[in-house]
Symmetry: C2
Subunit: 377 residues, 2 copies
């Protein structure tokens, strides 16, 4: 975590969506290069930059300077950091700020931050003037490998996470890998959970590579850019095949149904649980539940547990600080999750490492029994 | 206005949008038939009905009874009536109500009301779970011939009208022509402005037919269903050709740039000006401005003025009760309107009755001079 990436090589991943296709640039120095990159791709000359209190002190000034260098006029809005910012009042703030800046159709709205800022800002960009141009500058590993790619945007509701939003593709993603050096080990690990997810979905060889190379990824070596590019490409492929989550794209939710329920159960309190940690526990639970349903070998669940535990991620509900509500409450959150069809639960289950599949007829009673079994005593 | 439509004939108009195609049913008795019509078209068995304080006392109970008769479970939410309901706080109310009712992907959100309820509810349907099924039951003439068709949804911002929203097509539109008998003459006339608009855009023979038949339309005769079906078909054709307003669809904004600015100038106060009245004055101004720019004959502007005046619509800014802000303020609202590209104004102008076109290089100085000229002294 202390060294800058040793390779200056910049990678580019194309998300192929017809007239909504876009590039993800991955590499060091992209915040300093943002003005030039944006300027060469955009007709308009104005942007509104949305960021948060954690990111602003470190990156806002260099980013604004880079924009000015590219001849782009910019206004900025700094929001509170944290999951609770994904709310209607802040959505209104962002829309108001963008409209007040007179961002026109050829101009753009920019998210400079992690997943929360990206999801909120992308939603605002998707609804201002019924759709405005949008640029993602993700500053967390989680956002670089997951939330900034694919066009899902949204806010939370008291009924659950991400229940309100739109599909709105960015026009460009600039993933500056230098920024990852300022993440805490806990934040980095949380993002790594999504990297591991791509291996668990359908890339067993990538998961095996991660088991061998994770130390180099955490340390900022060459393997880091490689892991991010592989993750973005994996997500880009799924999104290109199923933009609006009618089928295949649901696989990206591996670990997320349990994960979202745990986030709701901890009231989105990042001191107790952050998204990637919920996904880590959720992926372990999904593998354990698959084993319990005789779909996969318990050895695979143990291998997932071992690797995620080794990198410092939580792998069981017992590791969440504080007490959890009753299993029934968790079950309720799962049933209200958006991946529900006519009362039956849709889960991503697995037949083994890299063999995930969409199961849309999971009996709620089995899930509840399993949860009670796994519940912290 | 006192007789029910004498013809029981029901008309159906198809909006052709590939896998998002849908039917508009037009005719008497459709509220009573809603349960059967919805039930036969929808897999889910739950709906959330959003309506307002004016509509609820008359139509909510019969509508809910009709749904129950069709085997559909429904919850309802009654909002304040009026343009100010198109706001973030009410959007949040609607989303919360829909999520609280556990509306799933095969279920639907229903707008029972005029344009305000339709725009707000459609927006909520477009963002809950990133897009839910949506049924329009328009109860005003304006909503039946305009806002319920075409998928534009949204709310207002302090920066202008409809600046925040999404494109979200309904799955079905039920236009019960019986409900028009309960509209005030002022409301009916306001909706009629949009009917006349379709003639003025590109159907000179329809405009001539309206000049002859408007009394029968206002009285609820056969011409009424005919006029509504022709209007819906006209809008459906434009929307099918240009769903997301990249070109042709802009023609539907004839009279709307001036109209929206006047609505903003009167602070969306329906006692002073309702949308259709703004459009009426706006269409007259668009024809007068076209004549001033030597694009059309002043005779055409006078013909438009004469017909809209005859049916009881306002045709000049002087008819708006109370004082208007300075012309410069109006101009500012026009420049902030969403139909602006790189500082030049986009207006719908005309070469004569039924010969409208998109002009995207209108000099703001000409518009301001024209407005000052027409301003109430």
């Amino acid at each position: 975590m202390t060294e800058a990436p040793s390779s200056p090589a910049r990678r580019s991943v194309r998300v192929d969506l017809g007239d909504r296709s876009y590039d993800i640039l991955i590499g060091p120095g992209l915040i300093a290069a943002a003005g030039a990159e944006i300027s060469s791709r955009m007709k308009g000359r104005r942007v509104a930059v949305i960021t948060d209190e954690h990111v602003a002190p470190i990156y806002l000034e260099p980013f604004m300077r880079s924009l000015a260098g590219g001849g782009i006029q910019a206004v900025s809005l700094v929001l509170p950091a944290g999951e609770k910012t994904k709310s209607f009042p802040h959505l209104m703030d962002v829309c108001d700020s963008v409209l007040g800046a007179r961002i026109e159709r050829n101009d753009a709205v920019v998210a400079l931050g992690g997943g929360v800022i990206g999801d909120l800002t992308g939603f605002a960009a998707g609804i201002v003037r019924r759709g405005s141009r949008f640029i993602q500058v993700p500053t967390s590993l989680l956002a670089q490998v997951d939330s900034s790619v694919g066009g899902k945007t949204g806010i939370n509701s008291r009924h659950g996470k991400n229940l309100i939003g739109v599909f709105h593709q960015p026009d460009l993603v600039l993933a500056d890998t230098d920024v990852l050096d300022t993440l805490s080990p806990r934040e980095f690990a949380a993002g790594y959970a999504e990297v591991a997810k791509y291996g668990l979905i359908d890339k067993p060889e990538f998961f095996a590579w991660l088991e061998k190379n994770w130390r180099d990824i955490f340390a900022g070596g060459d393997a880091r850019i490689e892991a991010i590019a592989t993750s973005c490409q994996a997500k880009a492929d799924v999104v290109a095949a199923d933009e609006r989550e009618n089928g295949l794209r649901a696989l990206l939710n591996l670990g997320h149904t349990f994960g979202h329920a745990l986030e709701a159960a901890t009231e989105y309190d990042s001191r107790r649980l952050v998204h990637g940690e919920g996904v880590s526990i959720g992926m372990v639970l999904a593998h354990q539940f698959s084993a319990r349903m005789n779909l996969a070998s318990p050895d695979d669940a143990r291998r997932v547990e071992a690797h995620l535990g080794e990198v410092g991620l939580p792998i069981s509900m017992a590791q969440i600080p504080g007490s959890l509500p009753p299993a029934e409450t968790l079950m309720d959150a799962i049933a209200q999750d958006k991946k529900v069809k006519s009362g039956k639960l849709t889960f991503i289950l697995t037949r083994g490492i890299g063999q995930s599949f969409v199961a849309d007829d999971v009996p709620p009673s089995e899930v509840l029994a399993f949860l009670k079994d796994k519940y912290p005593k």
